[in-house]
């Protein structure tokens, strides 16, 4: 799985680091990838002259010309379908879907072709293409602008599903996605576009390539498993947890970075160590990413678990309007509530013992 991107020797040198946003790191990753490989082509709605509605493609059309960074007609199935043909000819298209819900028109192309072309042709026509999808909520977007559609992509064999949570990961994972010979759904957490870190674009920190989770905060009491927009929430919760519980909890936070392939090794090792786990994501809980993760942990760590694996997720509802979204999004308190239910004392009680007679 490791299409690790080679990094300059001074990688991560603190000296030249300056505050950069995730959006800027993504922009830089596209630029560097386009400079490094003439086969990389960026395309999508408003990605050219405008530089994208989130400005992630800013300046690319100017530097590389409209043939390399192309505004397309407004037709997502067409965009992805055309990208498939370009990939068949040997190019590496990088497609931008303007918002998560606007990737849905391209669903058939994705599932029936992008994910299967390599397999169908026994490797004859690989699909080295990247689909960038801004996803998730928390930005006050109206209907259809805040969906978390990762469950759909995870359930589709043949594609990778990657999502960064930090500025260096945004750069490193996007480079790895574009370099991958397989199709990658690259989910960009919208509300982290403006998140900042000190970062040196001339010497970006190396990222181990697609398929590796990372322990963002080591801990011993329980493991929080999360990704993308919920990573900062979990880190904040872990800090707050030091004050909670009988003697405070020391929570480990794992940023999955890649939902497919799933880094079972890192996850299982952590949960076997801590004995407790909570999965946190924005996507609706039912049949969401947390289902797979919790099921897998429950199976592989059965004898190590002190408590059931709990999930903190968006409710099982259509994404709410801007003024109500804060009630839907998993926040620090909801995470801590779940941690508190991890059977710290003996004697397990249900959350709603009378709910439906169960």
């Amino acid at each position: 799985m490791s299409t690790a991107v080679r990094q300059p020797p001074e990688a991560g040198a603190t000296a030249a680091r300056k505050p950069a946003t995730m959006g800027q790191a993504l922009n830089r990753a596209l630029r560097d990838a386009m400079r490094a490989d003439p086969d990389v082509h960026v395309m999508g709605e408003d990605v050219g002259t405008l530089g994208g509605v989130f400005r992630v493609t800013d300046g690319l059309a100017k530097e590389f010309g409209e043939d390399r960074c192309s505004d397309t007609p407004l037709a997502e199935a067409g965009i992805l379908g055309v990208a498939v043909g370009m990939a068949m000819y040997g190019l590496r298209p990088v497609v931008e879907m303007q918002f998560d819900a606007f990737a849905f028109p391209a669903f058939e192309q994705l599932v029936s072709h992008v994910s299967r072309m390599r397999n169908r042709t026994r490797g004859g026509l690989p699909m080295p293409l990247t689909v960038r999808v801004p996803y998730g909520g928390g930005i006050g977007g109206v209907e259809h602008h805040s969906d978390s559609s990762e469950a759909y992509y995870m359930a589709t064999p043949g594609i990778h599903v990657v999502t960064p949570a930090t500025v260096p990961d945004a750069y490193g994972l996007l480079r790895a996605a574009i370099a991958s010979d397989d199709p990658v759904i690259f989910l960009e957490p919208k509300r982290l576009y403006w998140s900042k870190a000190d970062w040196n674009p001339e010497a970006p920190e190396p990222v181990p390539g697609i398929g590796k989770a990372v322990v963002r905060r080591p801990g011993t009491s329980a493991t929080l498993l999360t990704y993308g927009p919920s990573v900062p929430v979990c880190l904040e919760a872990a800090e707050a947890a030091r004050e909670e519980g009988a003697e405070g909890w020391d929570l480990e936070v794992i940023d999955l970075r890649s939902l497919v392939p799933f880094d079972e090794e890192t996850v299982v090792a952590s949960v076997r160590r801590t004995g407790r786990a909570v999965v946190v994501h924005e996507s609706p809980g039912f049949a969401g990413p947390g289902g797979e993760i919790a099921a897998r942990i429950s199976e592989r760590c059965f004898h190590y678990l002190e408590a059931p694996v709990l999930r903190v997720a968006g409710f099982d509802i259509p994404y709410p309007p801007p003024m109500l979204e804060r009630h839907h999004l998993p926040g620090v308190d909801r995470v801590l509530d779940a941690v508190a239910r991890l059977q710290w004392e003996s004697g397990w009680t249900e959350r709603h013992p009378d709910g439906g007679g169960i």
Binding site: E45, D46, G48, T49, L50, G51, V53, D71, T72, P73, L74, A75, E76, A77, G78, A101, F102, F104, P105, G140, G141, V142, E143, H144, H145, V233, A240, F286, F315, D316, I317, P318, P320, P321, P322, M323, L324, R326, H327, H328, L329, G331, V332, D333, R334, D337, R351, H352, G355, G356
Partner: protein, 390 residues
């Protein structure tokens, strides 16, 4: 005979006995956009002279519409709207769409068409619910016969076809008017909707407001067609091309098409050539992708000014009437501002009851969870747990 059998269409026979098919000629649009008010030249010779009452009604509506657009844009600056896609410059289309509809007809608007809904009679505060962000939709669609504002482009078009078809199946004389932008015509749903409408001869009219841009993408990057109205013939649907800044012309073309639809004549595709004078939304910076002189050229063809001049030339309007109309618009804008400045009533527990007809156990549990959290936050220890910390 069923409604699906009424329309005889292309059924090719072997070339030697090739039979005549639909004649394409009447389906092709006019060579120039149809106009009543005319361009700089003023009153047009040709064309039936519209009734004074209609002209005055349209005038009032575009003046109100312009002021409404300004007010809504101002509300975004005050944080009262999450976002506003203005139809400034497109008021002629908006107003004509709202007013051309018969009482039982339905309107299928996009996010940019709040003014069309207002012109149709929907309460302006209710229409802005989506864009304010208190809910996804704020008015009673069945009572107003206005479908929800639609955000995923072109997806509302098949809905309009389906509704119109359903009405026809029930024997109701109802037409649907579906609005879409120039960019939206590139989506597959546009194609499928037009094709269904044509094959089923659904009483639906498609109005493409060609405002030159899909966000930053100019029409030349969207299509290579002679005009968008030329898309009609490929479905067997007549295409009409109209000056979209000429409210009278748009109103006339739509009225004709809606009448035809209601009386079983099938669908029509209308392209109204207009221009988005403002940015895509308040969040957009239009200077990144278009030059000021292009905007200026279109300002010279402003739909409000055009109609005002037309009415003055016809002796239907004087300075006094103009200021009276503007004042009335100002009062309505004040009213809108005042009502929008009140915080909407929000109930977080509304997240759950509308997902299904009856709640599932799962959703009930989640509703209980939220209620518990809200209660904990309210009667909590004052540390702000539950509400403020995120």
């Amino acid at each position: 005979m069923t409604v699906l059998e009424q329309h005889s269409a292309y059924a090719p026979t072997p070339p030697p006995s090739w039979r005549p098919r639909t004649d394409p000629a009447p389906l092709l649009p006019e060579a120039e956009p149809y106009s009543v008010l005319g361009g700089e030249g003023g009153v047009r010779e040709s064309g039936v002279e519209p009734e004074a009452e209609l002209l005055l009604r349209l005038y009032e509506a575009v003046v109100h519409g312009r002021r409404y657009n300004e007010q809504a844009t101002a509300l975004t600056k005050q944080g009262r709207l999450a976002v506003y896609p203005s139809s400034t410059g497109q008021e002629a289309c908006q107003v004509a769409a709202g007013l051309a509809l018969g009482e039982r007809d339905w309107l299928f608007p996009s996010y940019r068409d709040t003014l069309a809904a207002v012109a149709r009679g929907v309460d302006p505060v209710e229409v802005l619910s989506l864009l304010r962000g208190d809910w996804h939709h704020g008015y009673d669609s069945r009572a107003t016969r206005v479908a929800p504002l639609c955000t995923p482009l072109a997806t509302q078009l098949p809905h309009a076809v389906g509704l119109a078809h359903a009405a026809r199946l029930r024997g109701d004389e109802v037409a649907a008017l579906a609005l879409v932008g120039d960019g939206g015509t590139s989506e597959g749903d546009f194609h499928e909707a037009l094709n269904f409408a044509a094959v089923w001869q659904a009483p639906v009219v498609f109005l493409v407001q060609n405002n030159g841009f899909a966000i930053s993408v100019p029409l030349a990057k969207q299509t290579a067609a002679p005009s968008l109205a030329h898309k009609g013939v490929g479905y067997g649907v007549p295409g009409r091309l109209v000056d979209g800044n000429d409210a009278v012309a748009v109103h006339e073309v739509l009225t004709e098409a809606l009448d035809r639809a209601r009386s079983g004549g099938g669908p029509t595709l209308v392209e109204a050539v207009t221009y988005r004078l403002e940015a895509h939304t308040n969040a957009d910076d239009a200077t990144r992708y278009r030059a000021a002189d292009e905007v200026e050229a279109w300002r010279a063809h402003d739909p409000v000014a055009l109609l005002e001049r037309g009415l003055r030339e016809r002796g239907l309007l004087d300075d006094e009437a103009v200021s009276a109309t503007r004042e009335a618009a100002e009062r309505r804008a004040e009213d809108l501002r005042a009502r929008m400045n009140q915080d909407p009533e929000l109930d977080p527990e509304e997240l759950f009851p509308h997902v299904y007809a009856q709640g599932t156990q799962q959703l009930q549990e989640q509703a209980v969870q939220l209620r518990d959290e809200l209660a904990a936050a309210e009667f909590g220890d004052g540390s702000g747990a539950g509400e403020d910390r995120r």
